[in-house]
Symmetry: C2
Subunit: 274 residues, 2 copies
C-alpha cells in the first residue's frame, strides 16, 4: 500500500493511495478521509461514469460531516487502469472509468474487470485489516449508485447500510446498462440480472436496513437511464424498506451530491454504529 | 453576459458565466453561487496560480455557509485567455492562469492583462448592476490572497471586508512575485510596491476592517513565497487591525480552504452587513 498524498482536512486527513490488486491484477487507486482518533465505521463510495478516486473526495464536501461522526470514507477508482483491452478507451460509458462494478466474463475483460470482487472482497479486507475498521457500508452515485445497490443487496451481512444518489436502478433496460452488461457479460441475460438492483429485489434479495435513494428531478438521465420508479415498484412489492427522496430542481452533478451528502452520512451512521 | 451552466446547490444556484470584457479585451469567465431570495452581500474570491473560475466553486464547499447568510460569491478566472503573448503559456507561474491581479505595462501584456482594473471596476460593476448587490468584499488564496489584500488595501471604500488564505503577502521579495512583477511591470520597483500588500501597509494604506489571514503551517510555500510574518510586522507597526490564524498540519490545498472557509464567510458577513 503506497500513500501518494496526504492533506489535513477538518479533524482528519484526506489521503490518496495505490496498491497492487490481486483481483484486478493491476495497480488500483483509492482515496480516503479518516478522522483522528477512533473510527466507528467506514462508508465505501462508488463513483459514476468517467470518474476516478478523486471526484468525491474533492467535490462532495463530506469530510466535516464524516469527521464529526467518527466515520471514514474510502473511494475506489471506477475501473482498472493501464490496460489496452479491445474497445476499452473508445467511449465514456464502457471500459476505463466505466466498470459498472461487475465481474466481467468477456474475453480480455474477464482477466481484469473484476470490480465486484474488488469492492466486496479486496477493498473490504483492506478496510478491516489495514484501516482496522469493522463496520462497513456502501453508497455511490449514478453507475456507482447502481454498484452500491447491487453490492448491498447481494451482501447484506457485510454492508450494514446501503444508499445511493441518482442510481441506475435497472440497468437491463437502460441504454447505459445494456451497453455495459453486454460488453462485460455477453448476451446471457441471466447473468445481467445478478447485477441489476431491481431484478435482485424481484428475485427475493433483501437488505435489513432501509435503503435510501436521493434523486434530482432535473436530472437529465432520470427518464432514460436511471429509472428510479422501477426500483420503487419492486421494493414496494417485495416489502424492502426504502425511502426515495426526489429533489425539485436538482441535476446529476456533484453540486446535488454536496447538498444532500450529510443526510446520507447520517443514514449510514445510524446503521453503522447501531 | 452568457450563462454557460446552472446547478441547483443547497438553497441557491452555482452558475458559470462568460462575457466580453471591456478591460481585458478578451472573453472572461467567472462562476457564482447565488442563494434564493434577497442577497445581502457579495464576496469576490480570487484564485491562485494555475486555477480557473472553477476551482473554488467546485472544491471549497462554501455554498451552504453562504446560502445560510444570504451571501453570494463570484469567482473570476485568474487571467485573460485565448491570447498568445510572448511567454504566456511557458510556465505555471507567469502568463495564463497567473495574472497576479496587476495592470500590466509590459509589451503585449499591457493590452490585456489588466486584472486589477477588471476586478476593481468591471467585475465590481457587474455585481452591482447585473446582480444588484451593493455590499462587496474580497478574499482569495495564494496569488489570489495577494490580490485580495492589495485590492482591499487600495480600495477600502469599495471593499467592506478583506481576508486571505495563504496569501503571497510580500511579492517583491518572493520568487513567484519577483518573476511576475518583473514580467508584467518591468524593472521599476516603485510600480511593484503598488501591488505588494506589505509595502502598501508600510506606505500608509489601511483598511478600516480587521484583515483576516489563515495560513497552514505545513504549507510548502510558506517560507519562501508567502512570507506571512512580513505582513504581520508591517500591520502591527502601522496599527492595521489584523488577525492571522496559523493552522498546525494544514497545507496549501483546497482541503485547507474547505476546512476554514466558514470562518472567513462569517468574518465577511460581519463587515458586509453591518
Amino acid at each position: 500500500m503506497k500513500k501518494l498524498k496526504s492533506h489535513k482536512t477538518f479533524n482528519g486527513k484526506t489521503e490518496f493511495w495505490s496498491h497492487e490488486s490481486r483481483v484486478t491484477k493491476t495497480e488500483m487507486k483509492f482515496s480516503t478521509f479518516i478522522p483522528e482518533g477512533d473510527v466507528e465505521g467506514c462508508i465505501i463510495w462508488l463513483s459514476g461514469l468517467t470518474c476516478t478516486d478523486e471526484n468525491f473526495i474533492t467535490k462532495a464536501g463530506a469530510q466535516k460531516a464524516l469527521g464529526k461522526r467518527k466515520l471514514m470514507v474510502i473511494c475506489p477508482d471506477t475501473s482498472p487502469r493501464g490496460l489496452n483491452l479491445p474497445g476499452e478507451h473508445d467511449s465514456y460509458d464502457f471500459g476505463s472509468g466505466a466498470s459498472f462494478y461487475v465481474n466481467a466474463t468477456t474475453p480480455g475483460y474477464a482477466d481484469h474487470y473484476k470490480m465486484y470482487d474488488y469492492v466486496v472482497d479486496e477493498l473490504y479486507e483492506i478496510i478491516q485489516n489495514t484501516f482496522k475498521v469493522k463496520n462497513i457500508s456502501i453508497t455511490g452515485h449514478s453507475m456507482g449508485g447502481h454498484g452500491a445497490l447491487v453490492i448491498g443487496l447481494r451482501n447484506p451481512e457485510k454492508f450494514k447500510a446501503v444508499s445511493a444518489f441518482s442510481p441506475i436502478v435497472n440497468p437491463m433496460v437502460s441504454p447505459w446498462g445494456i451497453k455495459a452488461l453486454n460488453g462485460y457479460l455477453g448476451e446471457n441475460k441471466d447473468a445481467w440480472k445478478t447485477y441489476d438492483a431491481t431484478e435482485l429485489i424481484k428475485a427475493g434479495k433483501k437488505h435489513p436496513g432501509k435503503i435510501l435513494i436521493t434523486q434530482g428531478l432535473s436530472d437529465e438521465f432520470l427518464e432514460k437511464d436511471l429509472l428510479t420508479e422501477n426500483f420503487v415498484k419492486a421494493a414496494t412489492a417485495a416489502e424492502q424498506d426504502h425511502a426515495v427522496k426526489y429533489c425539485e430542481g436538482f441535476d446529476h452533478s456533484y453540486y446535488f451530491i454536496a447538498t444532500f451528502i450529510k443526510e446520507h452520512i447520517k443514514h449510514h451512521e445510524g446503521l453503522l454504529t447501531s
